[in-house]
Symmetry: C2
Subunit: 397 residues, 2 copies
């Protein structure tokens, strides 16, 4: 079992405290699992108070034994009831906290009301954006975790070539790839932050139902197994000559990868091959032009221009109402982190950011092709972390 | 693709409208995926306004094409921006809504603020409890879906006997069971409503790490693959003579099953066999005594008394801080539905409720045994929906 090192937690908290001071927030009460794991190294049921400066306090409901084992923080207190939080903080020297930061993008409203009643003299403010900004710059430790996740994803994608057979259902292929990833240590769950977004470990899509749009903030969703899920693999059987689109992610020690490859049993229609070539060109262009200082907007605009030049603009990043206004997104502990590489996004890449770049084409009534790789922003450009394939993989018939 | 029949949606909405009127709520704005699916038959990005009486309005952002195909509601409107909701409702004859119900148990605070600004003259109230109460009584259609999910779970549990081998990791077994379920149509995701709770499709636990407590509202969690996930299967290898605990669920058309079986390669220590017998006795007792009119509290109390009589009280439903105060829970579209069969719960069983009953024993430093079945409350008692096994399954060495 690998625990987050103390030096990691310290540097993350320090950077967050800098931004709390910058915004005039006296302290933040971290409640959500992912943010707890980031700042405290544990997802045990707890509340983490991070003051503008000084030691944070981790108040743990359950499991206390486990939180003390997992977290390298020094100030860990058993919390019997949520309503004891003000008392615990008072005992720790925080008698009155003027402005309290909360993760208002994810915190359920009833919790907010409860905190309001507990801290009736305090103001509340949303610090989710500050947290996400701190999280967007990855440490060497975090990059090592992402590399491990990427390596397993690469291996699973390679293994996919061996097992895909004509007539298998998408669900069957999905299960086999998952079982292979699990065997190699995949944590099973990939987290997503967006409200009502539901992350799937995998989208295996084939044929024209693969081109269905859905509620997900993703260019490609597919029909899914039923209208309650409405994304990912379904009962559809893969057939020769149709693109088989696989978007797969793996999680290791909390950190995720996100990779897309396109396969075909036998040669697919020329349209798909030409479309895939256009995507590779967009990807190669990004690899040469992206780096520190380049904005999300600029990367997106360039990709759209290239899609237009190749004649595929209408299908790029989805078609019609299914189109999404981005071509890449940060990854880390969640699959929808900063930076977003999309329309109107002024955020500029910085060294240490990690993102997935995913040019995709959705041809309604026909099918989907796509490619997705993971990149680390280095001092002078971007380093690709994913290994396998710059081609539409043609499997023997 | 099976869509929710119109008659289903109508009767659900009618029952909900009855309770809105009972509480003096003028209308509810349904936002969360599961509740949307329940009342509208779709999880496409949308907002469903259900007035106290009259036709509901489904306002769809994405995918509109898909929502109109999936939902049997008649009044479906394309919504460009969330801020257009008041205008759409005004056009539909709802110029001023005095009290608006929201799902405040799950709705993120920022959304609440947004609605407050859009409906500045309205009051807001939490209707999550009303929704959950309506959802707790299952229709024949819903029970058919749950039966399908249960059947696949039974088959996967049966198949587990064939594939478990000494020396396999828990993760490996987990992947194989999942792939088998996927092949049979499992939707992949089991939803849970509780904040920061994260549902896993499966808990495969063995040996003493299986007895680890965690943040989950579950008697049994296990160590998990890493501290970021902190539940379910891990890198642990299954060994002969140790109980192998499998808690597995499957989803079909949104509806889930939840089943636990205990296996052992070769005969396990007498403690586990005796413990398992005590659990069976608790289960048989519930099967004879539960039915309409019996409270959650009464069922829980009886189970605890029997655990005490058998000498296992200290380990029943978790040990120490890991203990949970319930022995069963409703299931349906989510895994944590009403009724809760637990301490102080006055809710009485009603015909049409479906629940999982899960007596379990956690022996710290040793291991876990448990059993879990799904029951339907009938007119005069409970009907067990799960089929397989009333025994600790001993596999050949």
């Amino acid at each position: 079992m690998e625990y987050t090192p103390e030096s990691e937690l310290k540097s993350r908290i320090q950077r967050f405290q800098d931004s709390l001071r910058g915004q005039g927030v006296d302290g933040a009460l971290i409640c959500q699992n992912v943010d707890l794991f980031y700042f405290a190294g544990t997802v045990q049921e707890s509340f983490l108070f991070i003051p503008q400066q000084g030691e944070p306090t981790l108040m743990v409901k359950k499991s206390y034994a486990r939180a003390t084992r997992e977290s390298a923080l020094s100030n860990i207190i058993l919390l019997e009831k949520v309503r004891h939080i003000p008392g615990v903080l008072r005992d720790g020297g925080f008698g009155h906290i003027g402005t309290i930061g909360l993760e208002l993008d994810v915190l359920p409203t009833n919790y907010y009301f409860h905190f309001q009643s507990l801290f009736s003299r305090s103001q509340f403010t949303d610090v989710s954006r500050l947290i996400l900004k701190v999280r967007s710059i990855k440490s060497d430790y975090e990059i090592r975790q992402i590399r491990k996740a990427v390596k397993i994803t690469d291996e699973v994608m390679d293994w996919a070539k061996e097992i895909i057979r004509e007539g298998m259902t998408e669900l069957e292929i999905d299960g086999l790839l998952f079982s292979q990833a699990r065997k190699k240590g995949h944590q099973g769950r990939l987290r997503i932050r967006g409200w009502n977004q539901e992350m799937f470990h995998c989208h295996i899509l084939s044929g024209k139902k693969g081109a269905y749009s859905s509620f997900c903030t993703s260019p490609v969703c597919g029909e899914g197994p039923n209208p309650a899920i409405a994304q990912g693999a379904g009962a559809q059987r893969v057939r020769r000559g149709e693109p088989i689109y696989i978007d797969f992610g793996v999680g290791i020690n909390g950190y995720v990868s996100d990779e897309t490859r396109t396969f075909s049993i036998g040669k697919p229609h020329r349209l798909f091959l030409r479309g895939f070539e256009a995507l590779l060109e967009i990807k190669r262009d990004m690899e040469h032009s992206a780096g520190p200082g380049v904005s999300g907007r600029a990367i997106y605009r360039r990709a759209v221009e290239l899609a237009r030049a190749s004649g595929f603009e209408d299908y790029f990043m989805g078609h019609g109402e299914g189109r999404v206004p981005f071509v890449g997104h940060g990854i880390g502990l969640e699959i929808d982190e900063l930076p977003l590489l999309g329309m109107g996004i002024s955020t500029r890449l910085e060294e240490g950011m990690v993102f997935a770049f995913e040019p995709k084409l959705v041809f309604p009534g026909k099918g989907v092709v796509g490619v997705e790789d993971v990149y680390l922003v280095s001092s002078h450009g971007v380093e690709r972390l994913t290994l396998t394939g710059d081609q539409l993989v043609i499997l023997p018939e």
